[in-house]
Amino acid sequence: MSATTTALQPSPTVTAEERTGFGRLVPRRNPWRHPWFLEGFTWLYLIWSLVPVGLAVLFSFNDGKSQSFWQGFSWRWYFGDKINSVWYNPDLHAAVIQTIRLSVYTTVICVPLGVAFALGINRWRSRTSATFNFLMILSFVIPELIFGVAMFFTFTALFGTIGLGTTAQTLALVTWNVSWPAIIVQARLVTIGRQYEEAAADLGATPWQITYRVMLPLLIPAIFASAVLVFSSVIDDFVLVDLLFSNSSNTPMTVYIYSQQHGGNGGPALNALGTIMLVMSFVVVIIGYLGYRWMTRGERGGGRREALTTITGM
């Protein structure tokens, strides 16, 4: 009872609603004010995601074994230490070489295969092409472990003569990464449109001439971007190469870090290895970014952000 009586009584303060009669249409605060809370949250996220990696890089230059006590700058874990540094430890050394080798092999096979596949699938409209396009995208989302198990049995049981090792790793990585060039080139084909090849065809060009002299030059930026993506994904790949390595001569960096680290502390030389991996990826990405910008210069819709998102495969 008391609640209704108080509600019926005129309120002592006059709200904006009563004053204007427009209700909530009248904003009480600037509706376009900057969302400082969201910005702060975003910065916190960025700090959380980047600072730990920065510290790990920093401690790879630590003149000591600790990960939390700075003992001065040194190259000890890169080449200073005659036993445990990346340069002198044969296993660490071999891991760097194996990673680079796999990245080069995979990129060289994967990119032409994916580009030809994308062009062919995109122009040859049939049930077969649709099915394989679907499979190609499926290979993009299937959990890597499951695909890795399939590869493991393929190279130990079906193609037992190949066995585990660099060949198996390369073949698996090509299959796993072929969707990058295939997807990126198809997206680029859509943006290019068909007017150039139609013009070329009208002028009497054969399909081979259209592909080689019209389409390929137009596709160069996309091909380049996908090469960058394939190369750097292979550097960072872990599951496939872990399931398919056979001995220390074909153990890439990620697998080496994992095998040393789990179940114990692998020491700062691993941080040095991780830092080398990080620098490799960043160099590839920066080359990719600058190259992409240069290749698409003067294009409509091109720009820094577009180059960045293409190189990331977004």
């Binding site: 790990a56 062919g120 499979l135 198990v149 049981a157 990620t254 179940g263 960043f282």
Partner: protein, 309 residues
């Protein structure tokens, strides 16, 4: 005069030369057939095969008529038999992945939303910072946390000096460490998908909502959120699918039996003579569970790429 041949359908590239385009696609098709379709049949053949009793290696049986149920029975016992270990591990995997992906969404969405909508002229900078972890190897990012979470690491140092509590052995088999490790590992992929989706929303729609009198929060709930349903779904899939096959994050951050996931079961069986057949069965089971979400993802991305073009 040949140059002035009649225009029209007959001249359209791609149509009179189907064979050429088919030949161009052929190497890729062959590759996918031999190294993507056949390998999954090999898993089936291993699962339906038997184990060589002397050496313990699995023997593949490629004729379905001769398949045996030995591996399936063994897997069934692992799951539901007396003292079964796999079922609790499967349950743990699901709860880890569910919690980790929800935490990821709660962290990633606001950050992606801010960068897509409010970063203004600093958008490029924010984008570079958002993308940066994507280029840092997973192993390096896990190494970073191993360094921080050691008992004399910075996390414990900070906790001891600020809160005055005893150092916690974070790497000694805690579920929370593994879950946060999964979040840290997979969130860059989620945030990029969310950013791409949110960035595509026409700002005019949001402005219209605001102009028509909705407050900031109601505009978000009634305009932005419904429009970002698709990126949320695909982003969650792109994090959940690899998380379900993860076997290294928990090995690196805990290594304890109490944090094992289904990926560890498969990985261990692959390395154990005599058990590889069961590993094949469990891989098939995981695949079976994930087929529907994977196909959904492929169809959904196909639709968005078609509507964008």
């Amino acid at each position: 005069m040949a140059l002035l041949a009649p225009r029209g359908r007959a001249r359209r590239p791609g149509e009179p030369h189907r064979l050429f385009w088919a030949a161009l696609a052929a190497p890729g098709i062959l590759w996918l057939a031999v190294l993507f379709i056949v390998p999954f049949y090999v898993i089936l053949a291993i699962a339906g095969g038997y184990v060589n009793q002397i050496f313990g290696y699995p023997v593949a049986v490629y004729n379905p008529l001769h398949w045996s149920s030995a591996n399936f029975t063994a897997a069934w016992h692992d799951m539901f038999g007396v003292g079964a270990t796999v079922l609790p591990i499967a349950g743990r995997t699901l709860s880890y992945v569910a919690i980790a992906s929800l935490i990821s969404l709660v962290i990633a969405y606001p950050a992606a939303y801010f960068v897509a909508r409010f970063a203004g002229r600093r958008k490029g900078l924010f984008l570079v910072l958002l993308i940066a972890p994507f280029w840092v190897s997973y192993m390096m990012r896990m190494l970073a946390w191993i360094g921080l979470l050691q008992t004399d690491g910075y996390v414990d140092k900070a906790l001891t000096s600020v809160l005055g509590i005893q150092p916690i052995n974070w790497l000694g088999g805690l579920s929370i460490t593994v879950i946060l490790g999964l979040v840290y590992g997979y969130i860059p992929y989620l945030i990029l998908v969310l950013y791409a989706g949110l960035d595509r929303i026409d700002p005019a729609l949001i402005e219209a909502g605001r102009d028509l009198g909705l407050g900031r929060i109601r505009t978000f709930v009634r305009v932005t959120l419904p429009l970002s349903r698709q990126p949320i779904l695909t982003g969650m899939l792109i994090t959940v699918l690899p998380m379900l096959g993860d076997y290294f994050t928990n090995q690196l951050l805990s290594g304890a039996a109490g944090t094992r996931m289904i990926g560890n079961v498969i990985d261990d069986q692959l390395n154990a003579p005599g058990q590889q057949g069961q590993g094949a069965v469990f891989s098939l089971l995981v695949l079976l569970v994930l087929v529907a979400p994977m196909i959904y993802y492929v169809v959904a991305t196909n639709r968005t790429s078609r509507s964008a073009s």
